[in-house]
């Protein structure tokens, strides 16, 4: 259109040497600048949703509503106040929600709206590396969210030991990662976003309410309690609470960890095969 008098010629000489093998770790590492830039752009907005809403929950449920609840350690799984009981469960439930929100619309957006995955997979990057980088970003968010949340609540005197809270945070991150992998696999297969509404209403919301975050699952009766213990979130809530309250039953902690790790591994396969089928056809 405009005249181009003295434009320097573009260097088109061949760049990298062909045939270099791209390792898994290297493939993931090459995406760090992308996720770092996305984080830089979005962290302000996510601060609000990450910390403010659960903080409001803690105040409303833990402090105000909890004031009506008798702090009986026998009935509150070892907690001496309802606040101490609800906080570790609430952070675990919040980890689930963060994981789900990071692996639903964002994954679908990268598949079909922005088509970022398509552009990534036109490079030497491969599907497992792309999935891993995205899930690592979600994991990093979970670590930050759960850690800051724990630090904010420490002055309330809800933690019983110095070593419990870090392990509780790890538990919360673990349950978050488990949900991230499972939901990522679901999103990778989903054709349109209406499915997310069903996931939130029939999956996430009931889990949030009935997996022991707000009351001991034994309150649900024998059958209800066992049903609750079959949900992945309960394993995270229980683990998180046992560490936070320094009230650990080690064999049960082992079961909780094993279940979550196993589900996360299943979720990882499910995610990779889902994106592979979707993008490489």
């Amino acid at each position: 259109m405009e005249p181009q008098p003295t434009r320097p010629a573009l260097d088109t000489s061949s760049g990298a040497t062909p045939g270099e093998a791209l390792t898994f770790v290297d493939g993931v590492r090459r995406q760090i600048p992308y996720w770092a830039t996305v984080t830089k752009r979005t962290w302000r907005g996510s601060v609000v949703s990450s910390f403010l809403s659960p903080l409001l929950y803690v105040v409303a449920m833990g402090v105000v509503l909890g004031g009506f609840v008798e702090g009986d350690p026998d009935r509150l799984e070892g907690a001496t106040s309802y606040l101490a009981f609800v906080v570790p469960g609430l952070i675990a439930a919040h980890a689930m929600q963060t994981a789900v929100s990071e692996t639903t619309y964002p994954v679908m957006g990268m598949i079909k709206w922005q088509r970022v995955y398509e552009s990534m997979l036109a490079t030497p990057l491969q599907v497992p590396q792309v999935v891993a980088a995205h899930l690592l970003f979600v994991t990093a968010r979970l670590v930050v969210t759960c850690t800051v949340f724990t630090l904010v609540l420490a002055p309330f005197g809800v933690f019983e030991s110095w070593w419990g809270p870090p392990l509780a945070v790890l538990s919360q991150v673990l349950v978050g990662v488990t949900f991230a992998t499972l939901v990522y696999g679901f999103s990778a297969r989903l054709r349109n976003e209406e499915g997310f509404g069903v996931l939130f209403r029939l999956g996430v919301f009931p889990l949030f309410l009935f997996s022991g975050a707000f009351f001991p699952v034994t309150n649900l009766g024998e059958a209800g309690a066992w049903a609750a213990r079959l949900t992945p979130l309960w394993h995270g809530v229980n683990l998180s609470r046992m560490f936070a309250l320094d009230h650990v039953t080690w064999w049960l902690a082992g079961v909780n960890v094993a279940v979550l790790v196993l589900l996360a591994l299943v979720g990882w396969r499910w995610s990779v095969t889902g994106l592979q089928r979707r993008m490489v056809s």
Binding site: M1, T12, P18, R30
Partner: protein, 319 residues
């Protein structure tokens, strides 16, 4: 184009009996293609001809169903990442990241190829200059016009200094100004020795850019050659277009076609006009008048690739 490139030939793409199926649907039904270094090669065809499926296989993102395919001498089934490291891909629909600004789209994309940060930034600035977007470096992608997005996509496809550049309908949806700017950039790349492979359904684009092309229809190659070759082989030198006032003649163009059938190599009756394919269009028009026929409008023009295309792939609409 030049004899040197033809003799120092090295296959950038070599396909033999290449097939692609999606379930029971056969998108590509066995095609043979060879693209040599430095060539500008085109895939032409109507929608659904199998061009994009072929391009995706060549881009090493879609597994081959049957036949053999070698890209840069390598097998995409086993060496996908190594092949993609040497390709530039400009997809049909923009896949720019609107989370990132214009320059970051290039820098971060360069990092996927393993380019160090400093080098990726330097390359990004070079490319922004090349596609005339330097003053938009900090802009959000969503604020760019269609033509600017396309230029940015082309810039992005060059971050790794590819040996082979794949362009899937590079100018679809652009206004004429934007198309010409883009053609100019692509022409410069071609002159710089980059091998271009493009799909298009714009015949003028193919004539402008392609040294050689294939016409695809329903998953098969129906013609192959240079634009001039194809015109020579599948059409006549000129076309006389005759439009009759149908009310006066009291009949349709298809009936009139019979009256002039002997005047050209081929006569095609369209609802609004007759096309008479002949070496000498003026002579056709003169003879039509001699026979007492009175077209209300006549046009004599050279055959174009579009005539070839329509002849080979038909005039039926494909959605």
């Amino acid at each position: 184009m030049t004899p040197e490139t033809a003799t120092s030939a090295e296959s950038m793409i070599l396909a033999r009996g290449l097939r692609k199926s999606f379930g029971p649907f056969e998108a590509v039904k066995g095609i043979d293609v060879e693209v040599r270094r430095g060539e500008a090669f085109g895939f032409l065809g109507p929608n659904g001809a199998g061009k994009s499926s072929t391009m995706r296989m060549v881009a090493a993102v879609s597994p081959v169903t049957g036949g053999t395919l070698r890209i840069l001498g390598r097998d995409p089934a086993t060496e996908g990442p190594a092949i993609r490291a040497r390709l530039g891909v400009c997809p049909q629909e923009d896949t720019l990241d609107s989370e990132l600004n214009v320059r970051d789209n290039l820098v971060i994309y360069g990092r996927y190829f393993g380019t160090a940060r400093r080098e990726a930034e330097q390359r990004a600035d070079e490319l922004l200059d090349f596609v005339q977007l330097t003053d938009k470096a900090g802009a959000r992608v969503e604020n760019l016009s269609g033509g600017m997005k396309r230029r940015l996509t082309i810039a992005r496809s060059l971050v790794n200094r590819p040996d082979l550049l794949l362009l899937d309908e590079p100018t679809t949806g652009l206004d004429p100004q934007a198309r010409h700017v883009l053609w100019d950039r692509l022409f410069r790349l071609k002159q710089a020795g980059v091998t271009l492979v493009l799909t298009t359904h714009y015949m003028d684009e193919a004539e402008q850019l392609c040294d050689r092309l294939v016409v695809m229809d329903k998953g098969l190659i129906v013609a192959e050659g240079s634009p001039l070759d194809l015109i020579r082989r599948h059409s006549t030198r000129e076309v006389a277009e005759l439009r009759f006032g149908l009310a006066e003649e009291g009949t349709g163009h298809d009936v009139l076609a019979e009256k002039v059938a002997d005047l050209g190599d081929r006569v095609e009756a369209l609802p609004d006009r007759l096309l008479v394919y002949s070496a000498d269009g003026e002579e056709v028009v003169a003879k039509v008048h001699e026979r007492g026929l009175r077209p209300v409008a006549t046009l004599v023009r050279r055959s174009t690739l579009e005539d070839v295309f329509l002849r080979l792939t038909g005039r039926t609409l494909v959605d």
